[in-house]
Symmetry: C2
Subunit: 200 residues, 2 copies
């Protein structure tokens, strides 16, 4: 039994959102499962000195054009959120808290969070809004809302981000296949060949 | 007659080198020619506040793994140069100077510069070395060496970089197809569809 493909994502990452629509099918093609791991890009940016794409001169303007174009290229819905980027602690804590109980539901909630933010323009940095999105997937909204402020969940997310940094994860999406790191939706073609061939 | 595809590159850019092996065939598939435009990433980095990839914490380590892996993925030779990155004024001036006289030869010399740096580990920041590479393509090495210090050529390259910045070019490779900007070898699949369909 092969190890799961590790899929790291920040719920405020446009390319993370696009990749989230594709990673399960890509892994399944080679009989692999996916371990969905929410991270916080803000912490990564501090470690690398990087900044949110849209705040970099020139690159920011380009990104705002490339996000929707890349979505169209991949046949996916996308609307630039009114507020961008946003802190994703609340949404990520709910996903991580759910993961302990029901991994499949956690994935569905992560996808619902991405959809809410990048299609319906819902500000999922708001804990109540994030809990309401989770409720769409059958989660008790009061319990989800409580998870956002739960010190155990907070600490668990903090440790997740630290572990990701220690693994060399610095962006979103970031995929690790059998210890081989791939940054970006742009590398899904390389991931495909890596999974098919066991490395190249 | 469609306008040429604009291909911007820095001769010290690994992804620029890889893209340089592919851009002519990609454009030719759709009956388009390519305008090869050398730029200086150092100037772009100042404008955007970006840094050479290999100097960014974490991303640098990843890049050193991704460069050769991407080369293998595309079936191209690649060796990480002993000295990286390097200033590419000398090599870029020779290419630009040649372009005024013989565009086809300028392209061959640009490719030879890339090959010398990324396969043969020749430091093309050295003006004599750069002139010697040009000589391999039938260029008079003394004339090429003189072009490096020619104020007219220096000024022409400076204006080229300024024009590129004004066009929104901030990285290498950078391709503009009918005013649509594409950054990175990663976008060659989108360029392909754009050329095929006239936009999407």
């Amino acid at each position: 039994m092969s190890a799961p493909v590790e899929f790291y994502f920040d719920l405020s990452s446009p390319y993370g959102y696009l990749a989230a629509q594709k990673i399960d099918a890509l892994a399944a093609k080679y009989g692999r499962t996916v371990d969905w791991r929410p991270i916080l890009l803000g912490v990564m940016f501090k470690a690398t000195g990087m900044a949110p794409l849209t705040e970099v001169p020139m690159k920011g303007e380009y990104s705002k054009r490339d996000f929707p174009r890349s979505a169209r290229f991949h046949g996916l819905s996308f609307r630039m959120p009114s507020r961008f980027p946003i802190p994703t602690q609340a949404a990520a804590r709910i996903v991580l808290w759910l993961k302990e109980q029901d991994r499949a539901r956690a994935v569905r909630v992560a996808k619902a969070m991405f959809h809410a933010y990048f299609v319906d323009d819902i500000d999922i940095s708001n804990p109540d809004a994030a809990a309401a999105i989770a409720a769409r997937e059958g989660v008790d909204p009061a319990a989800a809302r409580a998870a956002v402020d739960d010190p155990v969940v907070k600490d668990a997310l903090k440790r997740e981000v630290e572990k990701a940094l220690a693994r060399g994860v610095f962006g979103s999406p970031f995929v690790i296949v059998d210890d081989e790191p791939f940054w970006g939706l742009d590398r899904f073609d390389q991931i495909d060949r890596w999974l098919a061939s066991g490395g190249f």
